[in-house]
Subunit: 201 residues, 2 copies
DNA sequence: TTTGCCTTAGACCGACCGGTCAACTACAAT
DNA sequence: ATTGTAGTTGACCGGTCGGTCTAAGGCAAA
């Protein structure tokens, strides 16, 4: 078995296990077992558990960013980009809910929140990824303003607000373990943007 | 030393330690040491670590709810109640930041998020507390609508959106470790409510 | 003073933690 | 054939984990 496959299986296992519970409650042994990798190989591939966590963030982002590129294509009407963003989050959460019966929330903000006061490497990575996501949102917000569909304001600021709201909704849905409440993400973003037509298809 | 004082010191210690790092990274021994309580006494006062965490939630709320009662007094103009709510969060975060140089975020949503897929007792408690907070917000939103200061809508829904946004902002500030960004809470809530005058004193 | 009960002390438990290490295998270059 | 190197293995480490247990302390009622 090649090294890259070992790494990848570890990343996959770590991502799944940690997303489903938490960083603190998942041990290296457990990750190794799921990945079918022996402990020695783990520490050949990663220098520490938190190193793995940071790498898993990046790994998950690589999975996601191609969808973001499609979703936020400048070809699309900016409002569709935002509703597509909401839809992605909602279907993603629903998918995980169907598998395990639990709302898992956002892996970045969940683990980022758990570790950001303890592990600077992971915090930095979570911070970096949030910036990337906000960039996508910002372009859509900017175009909405340029097209006169929403009131002009600081697009970067509004994008950060949308992102904070999104993660807030998803985190709250996790705490409530209520999958329906994830859908609150769409009308809330509309309200933030000052768009009246909430029942838009 | 009486039992109640033992309990209280344990709650205080647990709250501080867990808020400053995370549930998973704080051990029972560490909590006992800070509280100056021996392990046997710990397990006399609480039946488990997660039992303590749930109790610490309630303990923190008891600390906070009296301020909420003042803040959300029906005597006050509803908009002042909301700005007071924002101010409370901001000063609270700033205070903790000055002490430890780190943005600590909301203890309820941080720990709630960390444990909600692992510990049903804690999840339930975090859920319950979020409902209480939303109730306060809802009354202010309701009154804002009644006074015609904002557009009429489902007050309960808007209150949940405000709460989700608040926790999202604070969590993101924790991940960014950027105390300034906590202040985003106020303009964001104004935007959610559709209130134009963002530079209001 | 004796009794009985709530509280505290701290030694102790086995399990598990993250991490290390020396031995080994597979394979490519010489 | 020999050497070098990358990858793998699993036994092993000291420390810490959450939690238990028994003995003793503190104190009120009798």
């Amino acid at each position: 078995m090649s090294e890259t496959s070992t790494r990848q299986r570890l990343l996959d296992a770590a991502l799944n296990l940690i997303w489903r519970s938490s960083y603190g409650s998942v041990g290296v042994d457990e990750i190794c077992q799921l990945a079918d990798v022996k402990k020695g190989s783990f520490y050949h591939a990663f220098k520490s558990k938190s190193d793995l966590a940071a790498a898993a963030f990046e790994y998950y982002w690589e999975h996601t960013c191609s969808r973001f590129d499609q979703l936020f294509s400048p070809e699309l009407p900016p409002l569709d980009r935002l509703t597509g963003y909401c839809k992605l989050i909602i279907t993603n959460q629903k998918k995980q809910y169907k598998i395990g019966g639990k709302v898992l929330g956002c892996p970045f903000s969940s683990v980022g929140c758990e570790l950001s006061t303890r592990d600077e490497t992971v915090r930095q990575k979570a911070h970096e990824l949030s910036i990337r996501i906000v960039k996508y949102l910002e372009s859509a917000v900017h175009d909405l303003m340029q097209e006169g569909l929403i009131e002009t304001a600081d697009a970067a600021e509004v994008a950060k607000e949308i992102y904070a709201y999104s993660t807030g909704v998803v985190t709250q849905a996790k705490i409530d373990n209520d999958i329906k409440s994830v859908e609150r993400i769409t009308p809330g973003i509309f309200r933030l943007l000052g768009i009246k037509n909430l029942v838009r298809k």
